[in-house]
Amino acid sequence: MSILIKKAIIINSTSMSKEPQDILIERGSIVKIAAKILDSADKTIEANGKYVLPGLVDLHCHLRDPGFEHKETIETGSRSAAKGGFTTIVCMPNTNPVIDNAKIVEGILKEAKRVGLVHVLPAGAITKGQKGEELADIMELKNAGCAALSDDGRTVHNSQLMRHALEYAKMANLLIMEHCEDPTVSRGSMNEGFYSTLLGLKGIPDIAETIIVARDIELARYLKTRIHFCHMSAKRSVELIRQAKAQGVAVTAESCPHHFSLTEEALQSFNTHTKVNPPLRTKEDVEAIKLGLKDGTIDCISTDHAPHAREEKELEFDASPVGMIGFETALGLAVRELVETKCITWSTLVEKMSFGPAKILGLQNKGEVAEGKDADIVIVDPQKEWVLKEEEIVSKSKNSPFIGQAFKGAVETTICSGKISYQAQ
């Protein structure tokens, strides 16, 4: 199968084509880019000056499969990701059973391949059962196809165990992605501060995050190894990471669209779709995250796509589970909150949502639209305005606080491994 995309503005992390280009895709690869390609192809797409970006790469999502298929499955999650412009996603191991052995990894990879809409890369658990007690069989996870390790949802709280995890993962050449939350400090359902006082909800202070960020920076420095921080939400975390990077510690970090789009004030509605972990924080935190994205302290944007069924979210605020879906709004929010506000350029957006995360995972053929690279591509209409409607969400769950909001910049077509995985109507 070959695809010819005509007259596209190609946006990479360091460049944007001045004139429209044609792109020829064959057998899953980009074979030719030129001002005018006359070769015939099985399918021709007229881009008419729309943007072509490398397929988006998400380092952090929850597909809930196996175990919680009422929230999402590999199939529905893949479809949602493709609609959002993603071609590679890393799914977190807090499934049931937990992704802590080869059998589970193989099952996920097999099903993802059958669905075939997006590259699904499982993150294996750092500890058996994500219990934080003993290391999972990390070499086995690596050999089975895990792209990274995480106990997401939990921090590896025992510092000695975390030290061994980092040492062992270094040997296995697997990246550890830490969910930073000191469980002894984190006891609530929203950011601790004036608004938690006002709303009478128990708080999660930013120190729940920063205590672990600081500890892990020290571990990475001491062990001369790398670590990746999941979903950074606090200003102080950005400062700690900035300082660590300046001192040469090998840390990378991600933030989520909701952490640069919403503040804790959104919780005043008691809409459980605003309940997320780490929690929505203050205006100062939001500004710091944006600055961190702009100056490179925060390497990438991840979705933390966390589907929950309607009956689970229609509970009391305290009782409702944390998380919101994110695939289908990630690009729209990044454009609206970062590009439209002139915080970053389209090229930087590509760096944060494709090139950067691909590099963190060591995926050398992804994250770039260039000859010889994988044909993972997303075509975006930068001018198209749209409104998020609940009935148009393709994820199995609809828990988004952004329903009803307007966006500019829409995914037209997603191509994964040279095949169309999503086409807007």
Binding site: S196, T197, L198, L201, K202, F270, E316, F317, D318
Partner: protein, 311 residues
């Protein structure tokens, strides 16, 4: 009632100073009803009031029930012992079921903050918040203000100290809202570990020494201390708490002679207040309870007045 436009009572943020004055005035009239031989007026005859209590409460529930009955409403108690989560039924489900039986008012108490808001948005009947989590307890604050007004003739300009576990107290939050709105000077006093972050932004002072506020206060409001706070490591010991924040006869000597000692109840005798102080001449604790019925009658009356106008 002139100017009253609320169909729900969720917290005091929604009420203006005039609204609070209206409640106090209306309660004054209803207080008299409870002293009659026949303690009943026909104002809410034919109306159904459901009390949905998902957290243990004796005095608030009885107070609301008496208030509704003295206004001739039919009352129904729904006690939810387990959280709706465990039953596989959402809270909204249960509320919708109650609504489907054509009730007119739902009084809700819940351990989770925000529940009354969510119900009020989703349901047609009026909703009264009888206490939600650590967030609000508006009728308690209204009866506190009614009591102060009755005893001291005014609220504006008074110095009120609220003493104890502010962090976990919905009573404190609602009292702060109301008292500040009415022009009182409010100072919070309690252990630093039980002081909620950012509370100064509500226009109150904060101190950690009871002796600082004793001499100047016109009103001393004590909050119940849950014994679990020691296990939860907020406090070294109840003993030390009593030494620093408990009111004894000896300590009361440092206060104004006619200071009001208030407590939303139930009092931990020997903790927040010594038995002598709780029963002493400065204590208005039982009058708060009496006034609670009058204030809740006023609230029911005002809210129903609004609801009728709408339909």
């Amino acid at each position: 009632m002139i100017g009253w436009k609320h169909g729900d009572l969720l917290d005091l943020n929604d009420l203006t100073r005039e609204d609070i004055e209206t409640v106090i005035e209306t309660a004054k009239a209803f207080k008299e009803v409870s002293t009659r031989d026949i303690k009943k007026v026909p104002a809410l005859r034919g109306k159904t009031v459901v009390m949905l209590f998902a957290e243990p409460s004796t005095r608030t529930r009885i107070s609301f029930e008496l208030a509704a009955k003295r206004l001739s409403a039919d009352t129904l108690n729904v006690t939810v012992s387990t959280s709706s989560t465990q039953k596989g039924e959402t809270l909204l489900d249960m509320a919708k079921n109650i609504e489907a039986m054509n009730v007119d008012m739902i009084i809700v108490r819940h351990k989770s903050a925000g529940v009354p808001q969510v119900l009020a948005r989703a349901l047609k009947p009026g909703v009264i918040n009888a206490g939600d989590g650590c967030r609000a307890h508006p009728t308690q604050a209204l009866l506190d203000m009614f009591t102060i007004q009755e005893k001291l003739g005014r609220i504006e300009g008074l110095k009120v100290a609220i003493i104890g576990d502010i962090l976990h107290s919905r009573v404190a939050r609602s009292d702060i809202d109301g008292l500040v709105k009415m022009g009182a000077h409010v100072t919070l006093c309690g252990p630093s570990t039980l002081m909620p972050p950012g509370i100064e932004r509500q226009g109150v002072g904060v101190t950690y020494k009871l002796d600082d506020v004793l001499p100047e206060s016109d009103v001393l409001m004590f909050l119940r201390l849950q014994k679990e706070r020691q296990e939860e490591k907020y406090l070294p010991s109840i003993r030390e708490y009593v030494q620093h924040f408990g009111l004894t006869t000896e300590r009361l000597k440092r206060a104004k002679k006619d200071v009001l000692v208030m407590h939303p109840g139930p009092v931990n005798r020997g903790v927040e207040l010594s038995a002598e102080v709780a029963d002493g001449i400065n204590s208005v604790i039982l009058e708060q309870v009496t006034n609670g019925v009058a204030v809740r009658m006023a609230i029911l009356y005002l809210l129903f007045g609004k609801k009728e106008k709408v339909s």
